[in-house]
C-alpha cells in the first residue's frame, strides 16, 4: 500500500518531443512529429489513429527498435520508470526490453518461432532476465501458461498446434513473463474473431490489475478503447491532436478529427442513420500539408488553419486539444452542440 502511495504521482513513461523520420529515396517520411507522452503507474493509455498515423512507429521508438538507417529518432526526453534510456548501450537496452517494458505485436501468427516449443519460448526470456536455470524457467513458464488459460501440459507443444486466439495468449504470457512495468500492445486483437477478441481483452484486463502493469494499447477501434483504457491519445499524421481521460475524449470531444472518427462508425442504436465519413484521404507523410495536417479534410477549417501547426493546448486539467478553431469566439463542434 505504502509503496503504491509513493509511486502514484510518478510516471512510468515520460516522453518529450519525440520525432521519428525515415530518410528514404523517395523523400523523408515524417512518421512521428514531436509528440509528448506520459503515463502514470497502473494506468492504461489508448493510442488511437488510422493506418499511417504513426502509432506503431511511436511504440517502436519507445523500445528503441526503430531501424536505423533509414529511421532517425529524436527526442528531448525518454524516461521509463524514471530512467533515461536514450543513451543506453545495446546490451543494456536488451535487458530493459522484456523486463521493464515489453511489447505484444499485432500478428500472433508470426510473433512465435515455429521451431521451439511454446514453453521454451516463454522460458527463454525468464532465463535471460531473471537468471533462472532451465528447469526453474520451464516451471515458471508453466505457471504463466495457466495464468493465460492454457493447460500447463501444452507448453511442450509447438506454435502450429495452437489456434490464433491461443497463440495470442502465448504471446501475452511471454510479454508478461518477467513482470514488466510497462506493456505496449500493438493492435493485439485485430487478427482475432470477436468472441475470441472479447476473451483476450478480458484476460488482459485481469492480468493488468493482477500484475500492476501500466499499458499502452495501440488500436484503431474506439470500442476497444472504451473497454480497456483510462486515458486516450488520438494521433493524426504523426501528431497527437487530442488527449485526455476516457471521459474527456468520449464525452467532451473537442477535435474535429476525433469527431470524424466517431461519426464514421455505424451507430448500434440508430441503425439507419447515415454515416458521416471524413472526406478525403490521409496526407502523404513525405509531403505533409502546411499548418494543421487535418485542415484539408476538416469541415470547420479556415485559412488560419493552414498557417501554422496548432499547439496541443490544455482545455481542462486533464484534457488537451490541438485545434486553432477554438481561438474563434464561440466555436463548438457539432457533436457537442447537440448535447
Amino acid at each position: 500500500m505504502s509503496e503504491k502511495e509513493i509511486t502514484r504521482n510518478e510516471k512510468i513513461l515520460d516522453v518529450k518531443n519525440l520525432s521519428v523520420r525515415f530518410e528514404t529515396e523517395d523523400g523523408i517520411v515524417r512518421a512521428v512529429n514531436g509528440i509528448d507522452l506520459d503515463l502514470g503507474y497502473h494506468r492504461t493509455l489508448g493510442l488511437v489513429g488510422e493506418t499511417g498515423a504513426g502509432k506503431t512507429t511511436t511504440a517502436l521508438a519507445l523500445l528503441r527498435l526503430v531501424q536505423s538507417p533509414p529511421g532517425v529518432v529524436e527526442c528531448d526526453k525518454l524516461e521509463i520508470g524514471g530512467r533515461d534510456i536514450r543513451e543506453l548501450s545495446i546490451e543494456h537496452m536488451e535487458q530493459i526490453r522484456g523486463k521493464d517494458i515489453s511489447m505484444i505485436f499485432q500478428d500472433p501468427m508470426t510473433a512465435l518461432n515455429p521451431v521451439f516449443t511454446v514453453g521454451d519460448q516463454i522460458a527463454e526470456s525468464l532465463e535471460l532476465h531473471e537468471h533462472l536455470n532451465h528447469e526453474q524457467a520451464l516451471e515458471r513458464a508453466g505457471d504463466m501458461l495457466e495464468m493465460v488459460g492454457i493447460p500447463r501440459a501444452r507448453g511442450k507443444e509447438y506454435p502450429h498446434q495452437f489456434s490464433g486466439g491461443m497463440k495470442q495468449r502465448v504471446v501475452i504470457a511471454i510479454a508478461l513473463a518477467c513482470n514488466p512495468k510497462l506493456l505496449i500492445a500493438d493492435e493485439p486483437t485485430t487478427a482475432l474473431d470477436v468472441t475470441i477478441q472479447a476473451q483476450v481483452l478480458e484476460l488482459m484486463n485481469d492480468l493488468k490489475t493482477k500484475y500492476d502493469t501500466s499499458m499502452i494499447m495501440i488500436t484503431h477501434d474506439l470500442g476497444i478503447v472504451a473497454e480497456v483504457c483510462d486515458e486516450v491519445a488520438v494521433m493524426y499524421a504523426g501528431r497527437i491532436i487530442e488527449k485526455g481521460t476516457l471521459e474527456d475524449v468520449f464525452r467532451e470531444t473537442m477535435h474535429p478529427y476525433t469527431e470524424g472518427l466517431f461519426n464514421s462508425l455505424p451507430n448500434i442504436k440508430n441503425r439507419t442513420a447515415r454515416l458521416k465519413p471524413i472526406m478525403g484521404l490521409m496526407p502523404d507523410p513525405t509531403n505533409l500539408p502546411p499548418g494543421c495536417a487535418f485542415a484539408p479534410r476538416c469541415n470547420y477549417a479556415t485559412e488560419e488553419c493552414s498557417k501554422e501547426v496548432p499547439e496541443l493546448k490544455a482545455v481542462s486539467q486533464t484534457h488537451k486539444c490541438a485545434c486553432c478553431a477554438y481561438e474563434r469566439e464561440g466555436f463548438c463542434i457539432e457533436r457537442r452542440a447537440k448535447k
Partner: protein
C-alpha cells in the same frame, strides 16, 4: 408483393481433406428480395465466404439449388453460366490482392466490358470507364495509374467499378470494408448505399463486423460452422436475439460509447474445425445453455419463432 431475386435451397459444399469431410457449408437456405440487402455474419471459418462464392459458382457447390430470377444456375453449363455472370457480381475483401498488379485502373475497369463484349468500340469503352470512375468517385487523373500506387479505399472503388461495369442485379460483397480504415470504411459504405438506391441493386453483405452489418443490411443471417443459426430482420435481431450464439456475439462487440452498459456473455473455447461433425447442434460444445440430452440429439432445424424470425435451437424454438 414479394419479388424474390435469389432463392438458395439446401446449399452444401463439402471439401475432402486428409482428416475427413470438411463441411464448409452445410444445408444453407435463404431468399432475398430485389433491392434488399442480406447480411451474412459469422466468425472466420463459419462458411460465410464459401456460401457467397458457391452462390456465384466460383466454387462449385456439392449439392443444392440456387434460383436466380427463377432459373437454377447450378444446372447451367459453363457457357451459360458465363453469360449469367453479368447479372451476378462480387466485390472482394482485400483490395490489395483482388486487383491485378500489372493492370492500370482503366484496364481493370474496362476488362469486364471487353470480355463480355458489352461495348465494342474503343471510344465507347473509354467513355464508359470514365463514367464508372465518376460513379464510384475516382478522380479522372487516376485513369492510368497502377493499383500499387493507390490506397486501399481507392482500390476498393476500382473493385466496385469493375462489378458495376456489367450492370449486375445482384452483388455479393465479401467483407468489402474490413481491410479499410474507419474513415474510409464509412465513405465506401455510403457509396454502396447510394449505388443501391440509384441502380436498384441487391446485396449479399458478408462480414464479421456486426456494427457494420446492422447499419447496412435489411435482414441478417448468423452463421456458425457452416449452418445458419438465426435469421431475422436487422432491427429484430439486434433488439431480440434468441440463439445463444447470437447473444454471445452481440455482447462481444466493443461499443465506442461509455453509456452502453450490457452484460458480456463469455464463450468458452474457440470455433472447432468443421471436419467430421457429429450429428448434434453445432454450437453445443461452446454453448452456455447446452443441455446434453436435448441439444446433442440432432442438428436443430431453422424454425420460425415469430414472423420472419428464424432460429435453429432446440431450447428456443417455441413462441
Amino acid at each position: 408483393m414479394s419479388d424474390t431475386i435469389l432463392d438458395v435451397r439446401h446449399l452444401k459444399k463439402y471439401f475432402k481433406t486428409g482428416k475427413g469431410m470438411l463441411h464448409a457449408v452445410d444445408d444453407v437456405s435463404f431468399t432475398i428480395e430485389r433491392g434488399k440487402t442480406l447480411g451474412l455474419v459469422g466468425e472466420s471459418g463459419c462458411g460465410k465466404s464459401t456460401t457467397g462464392r458457391s452462390v456465384l459458382r466460383l466454387i462449385e457447390p456439392t449439392s443444392g439449388e440456387v434460383f436466380f430470377e427463377g432459373k437454377d444456375i447450378v444446372k447451367l453449363s459453363g457457357g451459360e453460366m458465363r453469360k449469367m455472370r453479368k447479372d451476378m457480381q462480387i466485390i472482394f475483401q482485400d483490395p490489395f490482392s483482388s486487383l491485378d498488379p500489372k493492370k492500370t485502373v482503366s484496364q481493370a475497369i474496362s476488362e469486364p466490358i471487353r470480355i463480355n463484349k458489352i461495348l465494342k468500340n474503343k471510344r465507347d469503352i473509354e467513355d464508359r470507364v470514365m463514367e464508372l470512375m465518376d460513379t464510384v468517385g475516382l478522380a479522372e487523373r487516376l485513369v492510368n495509374t497502377y493499383p500499387h500506387e493507390l490506397d486501399g479505399g481507392r482500390r476498393q472503388r476500382i473493385g466496385i467499378a469493375r462489378a458495376l461495369a456489367m450492370e449486375p442485379k445482384l452483388i455479393i460483397c465479401d467483407e468489402p470494408v474490413s481491410a479499410l480504415d474507419v474513415s474510409i470504411q464509412a465513405q465506401i459504405l455510403n457509396l454502396m448505399d447510394d449505388l443501391q438506391d440509384k441502380l436498384d441493386l441487391t446485396y449479399i453483405f458478408i462480414t464479421h463486423d456486426l456494427a457494420v452489418v446492422n447499419h447496412f443490411a435489411d435482414e441478417i443471417a448468423v452463421m456458425y460452422l457452416g449452418g445458419i443459426v438465426e435469421k431475422a430482420p436487422s432491427e429484430e435481431l439486434f433488439t431480440n436475439p434468441i440463439h445463444p450464439y447470437t447473444r454471445a456475439l452481440l455482447s462481444a462487440i466493443p461499443v465506442p460509447d461509455l453509456d452502453h452498459k450490457r452484460e458480456r456473455i463469455s464463450l468458452k473455447g474457440e470455433i472447432t474445425s468443421p471436419v467430421n461433425l457429429p450429428n448434434e447442434c453445432r454450437f453445443a460444445n461452446r454453448c452456455y445453455e447446452c443441455q446434453d440430452k436435448i441439444c446433442r440429439a440432432g442438428i436443430p432445424p431453422l424454425v420460425e419463432v415469430s414472423p420472419n424470425h428464424f432460429v435453429a435451437c432446440y431450447l428456443h424454438n417455441e413462441k
